[in-house]
Symmetry: C2
Subunit: 224 residues, 2 copies
């Protein structure tokens, strides 16, 4: 997209993700325009995008606020992501090319290095993890899945999840990626789908354990 509105989008999103703009905070277009150094026009475009991604809510009179995510929202988000990503994996398994599998392996190795550095390189992990899933989405060849998942993956929780992974979590995630690659090499949709479901659900529980010690959600309903 355009330069200014993209910058504004990135800046505002980071302000929300970093907690600089706390949940429920009022968002004024003019104030943001000043902070971002652009006019209100690109700010408005950025706010529309952020609203579509549910990072921002608007009250009945179009005033914007930072959305607050309850634990139930987070759980629902992970489940939707699981549905969509597993479906993408199934489609990808039928269509993925050897070139795409090679790229998966490249990111897979990079993640391995990031984990086993003297100190785990979380930033590199997140980066290549994102690219890894991006290749699968590309291989799924579904504009609609891509469209929907794009809105989910950039959300606060997904970022904070990986940041709080233990070494064990990181290694488990890495192993699951390896399993996904194997499923793709065999072009086995059911296998890829199953691994992906497991992968996302594991991520949810890693998040839940860190962020809500007091409440272990009853998964018997949700996970079924």
């Amino acid at each position: 997209m355009s330069r200014a509105s993209d910058r504004a989008y990135a800046i505002i999103r980071d302000m929300i993700l970093s907690g600089d703009l706390p949940s429920g905070a009022k968002i004024g277009e003019e104030a943001l325009a000043e902070q971002c150094g652009v006019s209100r026009t690109p700010i408005r475009e950025a706010l529309n995008r952020l609203e579509a991604e549910l990072l921002i809510r608007r009250n009945d009179t179009q005033r914007s606020f930072v959305a607050d995510w309850s634990i139930d929202d987070v759980e629902e988000m992970f489940e939707l992501r699981g549905m969509l990503e597993s479906r993408a994996a199934r489609r990808a398994a039928k269509r993925i090319s050897w070139e795409q599998i090679e790229r998966l392996k490249t990111h897979h190795e990079a993640i391995g290095k990031a984990i086993h550095a003297t100190k785990p390189d979380t930033h590199s992990f997140i980066e290549h993890n994102h690219l890894f899933h991006g290749v699968i989405l590309e291989a799924s060849a579904s504009a609609q899945l891509t469209n929907m998942l794009a809105r989910i993956v950039e959300r606060p929780i997904v970022h904070r999840t990986a940041r709080n992974y233990s070494l064990e979590d990181l290694e488990r995630s890495h192993r699951q990626h390896g399993e996904l690659i194997a499923a793709f090499e065999h072009h086995d949709p059911a296998w890829a789908e199953a691994v992906m479901i497991s992968h996302i659900r594991r991520a949810f529980h890693a998040y839940a354990n860190v962020h809500i010690d007091q409440r272990l959600p009853d998964m018997s309903q949700a996970a079924e």
Copy 2:
């Protein structure tokens, strides 16, 4: 949303749905502004919304075109809709109130009347069908499901599907709605989910039979 940008959105969407703007047609902001009687600013907002709904595509240089939907895209759309709506139905079954069930019954009756009028009232059918599914979405109490389905339901194919329903299709749809209400009255998530899946898949096949006589898609893979 705002008055002018909403009107612009509705006008442009109708131009696409009616085929006035055919697939692949170039979309110029200024030309549309003139046709809609507003300035480019609300037009741009409308185009962003339509792009998010995949009714419009943008090339690498931000120029807009009417998206073309292949039969595979349509199939994928129905499957995504099935996933999301069945999930909404499951959630709704756990949470739906008697007041909401009453509203479902109201729309159910209205649909019945629309079907059995001297000449089936397609417009009324579509309207109350939309409201019926809207109540379920409301009862699901998931902002994220609502958000995602809102983008899908307004798409060209969904509209054209009902328009081409035979009397038999209409009655079958009506019966399935009745079944859904029963599932909700018993607060049975599995039942509601199953009926909804069947409901959406039936809609897909009704669409496919009308629009592609030449190719009956191999559902063994997709439906699975």
